[in-house]
């Protein structure tokens, strides 16, 4: 099975046109001594057999585990129309829209995506997507270093540990100083952040809500950063922006996040998309593809890839980033999701998440010796303090088909008894009550 269409006769005729006797002749430029020493692969199979094998493989994952986990990926509802529309072959079998006249579908959709991201974050310019939340945060940091010409970053420790690791991996070989603040009651560590700010700081990097779930108004941090000539970078959970004060309103300069929660399946961690938005004045420093509006020869409106001179295919080693392929199809799913939700729907969705989580807080917090970390308000995630190691609790509940949360001790010191619980709109009251019942039984029976 290789989807190669030529008949024997056609192949012969083509070889004749080329003027060689066999396919082997076409590989003559490759010296014999360079030929493959091995190519030990299984024999091919039909689509039917492949799907059987894949079905078996998927079946060897546990089915129906109830997820109260996040960690950057969230179990949200996805309207069927998202799959249907992003499954249009004209979208998913096209590539980067280099030729605008025959790619207006992708270009207009991505322009609409950029608009949606700007409106959601209250920023002025977005690119056409990055890979994921972690790499978007790293790109934002690199962008801030370029804009300010400085080399010191303040990174709040309550940001997603995976994102922080990605950021450090990206910057490992550059001369950049990263001041990492320890988390404070599950919220942004504002006192240490303000104390660390100086006029060599390129940016303050904050996640809001934090990995622990806490949400804060960062207006004061933005002001303090700006007073020192530094930028504020925030990484946000896009669904929360249906309800919560936007980063633009707080004065953020670069806003990033992971778009999985907007219409993309969990899919064991990808693909999702990273988004990045900024102020118009920093647009030339954005990494990756950007779509711009223009007109054709008859004055009709159309869309093109723009500001390409920033990018690797033109500027090579001086480009703003090495990114080429992005996550357009996942971004398109995000746009379709947001279009279906609409202005009211996203607000309702966010409120539903908030209410379910508040209910879960109340129910779980009423279990003996279980307390809810109350340093700041939360959206749909919160941290519990347990009378037992959280890893032990999680392992026991997982055996009962409930992913109860993310034990903080996996990522933080002295946090063994803390558990971050996520409650999306998909979790029913019944499931929340079940979690409470099973948690209580693990702790006390």
């Amino acid at each position: 099975m290789s989807y190669c269409p030529h008949t024997v006769d056609e192949q012969q005729s083509m070889l004749g046109t080329i003027g060689v006797a066999s396919i082997a002749d076409l590989f003559k430029p490759i010296p014999k001594k360079l030929r493959a020493k091995s190519f030990d692969l299984p024999a091919g199979m039909s689509e039917f057999e492949m799907l059987q094998k894949m079905t078996d493989l998927a079946a060897s994952n546990a089915q129906g585990v109830i997820p109260f986990i996040g960690g950057g990926f969230y179990d949200h509802l996805i309207p069927t129309a998202v799959d249907h529309l992003s499954g249009r072959a004209e979208f998913y079998t096209a590539y980067t829209p280099y030729q605008p006249e025959c790619s207006q579908g992708s270009l207009q959709a991505l322009f609409e995506y950029q608009t949606a991201i700007c409106r959601l974050t209250d920023m002025e310019a977005s690119n056409a997507s990055l890979y994921d939340g972690g790499t978007a945060l790293a790109e934002a940091a690199l962008m801030a270093l370029r804009i300010t010409g400085r080399n010191r970053l303040i990174l709040d420790g309550s940001a997603n540990p995976f994102y922080r690791e990605v950021l450090k991996t990206y910057l490992a070989n550059l001369e950049v100083e990263i001041i990492e603040l320890s988390p404070l009651d599950g919220a942004t560590n504002k006192p240490d952040c303000l104390a660390a700010l100086d006029d060599t700081t390129a940016a303050v990097i904050v996640q809001n809500p934090t990995f622990f779930g806490g949400f804060t108004d960062l207006t004061d941090v933005a002001k303090a950063a700006h007073a020192k000539g530094a930028l504020l970078i925030t990484t946000v959970y896009p669904v929360s922006l249906g309800l919560l004060k936007s980063p633009g309103e707080m004065g953020a300069d670069i806003v990033v996040g992971d778009g999985q929660s907007l219409g993309n399946p969990l899919s064991f961690g990808g693909p999702s998309f990273g988004f990045i938005a900024t102020r118009k004045k920093y647009i030339r420093n954005l990494p990756g593809r950007i779509i711009g509006e223009t007109v054709d020869r008859e004055g009709r409106r159309g869309y093109v890839l723009t500001l390409q001179a920033r990018e690797q295919h033109i500027k090579r080693h001086k480009a703003t980033s090495n990114i080429c392929s992005n996550q357009s199809l996942s971004a398109l799913r995000g746009l379709i999701f947001l279009s279906l939700m609409g202005k009211q729907g996203l607000a309702e969705l966010a409120r539903l998440n908030y209410e379910k989580a508040e209910y879960a807080k109340a129910v779980l917090g009423s279990i003996r010796e279980v307390t809810v970390l109350a340093g700041s308000p939360t959206f749909n995630e919160f941290t519990l303090s347990l009378p037992m190691r959280a890893t032990k609790v999680v392992e026991k509940l997982l055996a009962k088909g409930i992913a109860a949360g993310v034990p903080l001790g996996l990522y933080y010191q002295d946090a063994d008894n803390y558990l971050v619980v996520t409650v999306t709109e998909k979790r029913s009251r019944q499931e929340i009550d079940l979690l409470a019942k099973e948690l209580e039984s693990v702790l006390w029976s």
Partner: protein, 479 residues
């Protein structure tokens, strides 16, 4: 077409959410709420469906048009792959990272491990990480691995060598990791100038990045010598796998002497390009680099069970949120299962056959700057047409009117008026013949009636767009 925001009607709703089954909660303090709802469109489901369905119809795509975009391997994307990936849509990646979670995710972990093993065999490497999210991300991961290797050995290295025919991502990826770039010119025979390379090579060179076959579609017969020379100064050699579709089963980068390899699953392994992504760029390494691989790393235990290693003190750290673009990898795995050994060899043979067929039928009318047997793609030049003031871009636009997505134009940068054609193995002779006819017609019109080329395209909803206006005005979101 109107923007979706222009179709919005205040108060209209598209989706009904589940009713709340929990008591109303105390509202958050007002200062924490957004002052105004985000300006998303307000439409019915049908409005949204019609909008995006009609938008999709403005695209050329592999399923609707021949799409010989050089360097991008726009092969047919088998529909079974989508079905295979959808089987894994519900699984949360975090489950595998929880205590006791590995045994609940053996299917997903096994898929990643087995895909890595297959890719290691295909490329001749010792271990593969599936974490990188695209080709360029793989390159950067590779450069981070190389930097970690040199750091561990106490090597002082500053430079990365790239040929001038390389993809722009190569120098950009090396620069992101802090290296300075040394660019080597291309010799008249189409390969990197060996003498210039030798002159540039010294103890401070960390790596050499090679694409093989290169972006001219040519296989460099001196590639082993280049690897050996680089190793002589303890520089590592990076294989940009963008063109792997040409050589599967014929050459393995690992056998030749490459130390690090990335492969583009969305090119060689049949996963769709998604209007720009997602791709996936797994990276393979030789033994000496395994200690530096990113976390999380998936390992098979003696019992046959798959487990996740979360820590690696010597490693480069983490390059992506979780395990990479899993959905893309599920498709690539399904593709390799279907192709099998013989199928993958046939893929490369037919891809090379098709490219040479197109080249031999066009070289009387178009300049072939490096005229020799090509691999999976051929690079022509519109330099002869330039005498009539017809440029590669005019020919590209004419092809749109003939129903073909244009080849890559103006790349590689070292070829004037480049036209880079990669038909892939999945196209029929009839399709290629129709494309060849259109290219030949363009060459004839260049002399007879170049205005037709200059005006093209005329069959699309819009004509050529003013890119200067877009770049100057920077209108990147709807006000």
């Amino acid at each position: 077409m109107e923007l979706i925001y222009e179709k919005s009607v205040a108060g209209r709703k598209g989706v009904r959410l589940p009713a709340s089954d929990v008591p109303k909660a105390k509202a958050l303090p007002k200062k924490l709420l957004r002052s105004e709802a985000a300006g998303l469109p307000e439409l019915s489901e049908l409005d949204v469906v019609r909008h995006f369905t009609n938008l999709s119809r403005l695209n050329y795509s592999v399923d609707t048009n021949f799409y010989p975009l050089g360097s991008c391997t726009m092969k047919y994307n088998a529909k079974g792959l989508e079905a295979a990936a959808n089987l894994f849509a519900p699984f949360h990646p975090m489950t595998a990272l929880l205590p006791g979670g590995e045994k609940l995710t053996q299917g997903s972990l096994g898929l990643l491990f087995e895909l890595g093993s297959l890719l290691a065999e295909i490329t001749g490497m010792d271990e593969v990480t599936t974490q990188p999210l695209a080709g360029a991300h793989g390159e950067m991961t590779g450069m981070l691995l190389i930097a970690a290797y040199h750091r561990a050995k106490g090597n002082r290295k500053k430079y990365v060598i790239v040929p001038d025919s390389s993809h722009g991502t190569n120098p950009a990826s090396a620069a992101m990791v802090g290296y300075e770039i040394v660019t080597i010119p291309t010799a008249p025979y189409g390969d990197m100038d060996l003498d210039a390379f030798k002159a540039a090579l010294n103890d401070e060179v960390a790596a050499v990045m090679m694409t093989c076959p290169n972006t001219l579609g040519l296989f460099n017969p001196h590639i082993k010598e280049i690897c050996d020379l680089a190793h002589g100064v303890d520089a590592l050699v990076y294989y940009d796998g963008a063109n792997l579709n040409a050589i599967m089963g014929k050459v393995r980068p690992g056998d030749v002497g490459f130390d690090v390899v990335h492969v583009n699953l969305h090119k060689t392994f049949g996963t769709p390009h998604g209007a720009g992504g997602p791709g996936s760029g797994p990276v393979g390494v030789k033994k000496g680099l395994i200690p530096f691989l990113p976390i999380p790393r998936i390992v098979r235990k003696l019992t046959g069970a798959y487990t996740v290693e979360h820590e690696n003190p010597e490693g480069i750290g983490r390059t992506a949120n979780f395990f990479g673009n899993f959905g893309v990898m599920a498709k690539a795995y399904a593709y390799i299962l279907m192709m099998g050994k013989e199928g993958l060899i046939q893929v490369s043979e037919q891809a090379v056959l098709n490219a040479n067929y197109i080249m031999s039928r066009l070289k009387d009318l178009y300049e072939v700057p490096y005229d020799q047997t090509c691999m999976h793609e051929c690079v022509l030049s519109a330099s002869r047409q330039l005498a009539h003031d017809v440029h590669a871009i005019d020919i590209a636009k004419f092809l749109i009117d003939q129903g073909f997505h244009p080849p890559t134009v103006y790349f590689p940068l070292i070829v004037k008026e480049a036209i880079m054609i990669e038909p892939t193995e999945t196209e029929s002779k009839a399709t290629m013949d129709a494309f060849i006819d259109a290219m030949r017609e363009a060459a004839e019109l260049t002399e007879k009636d170049p205005d037709i080329l200059k005006r093209a395209p005329v069959t699309t909803p819009i004509s050529r767009l003013d890119e200067t206006k877009a770049a100057r005005e920077q209108n990147v979101c709807c006000q």
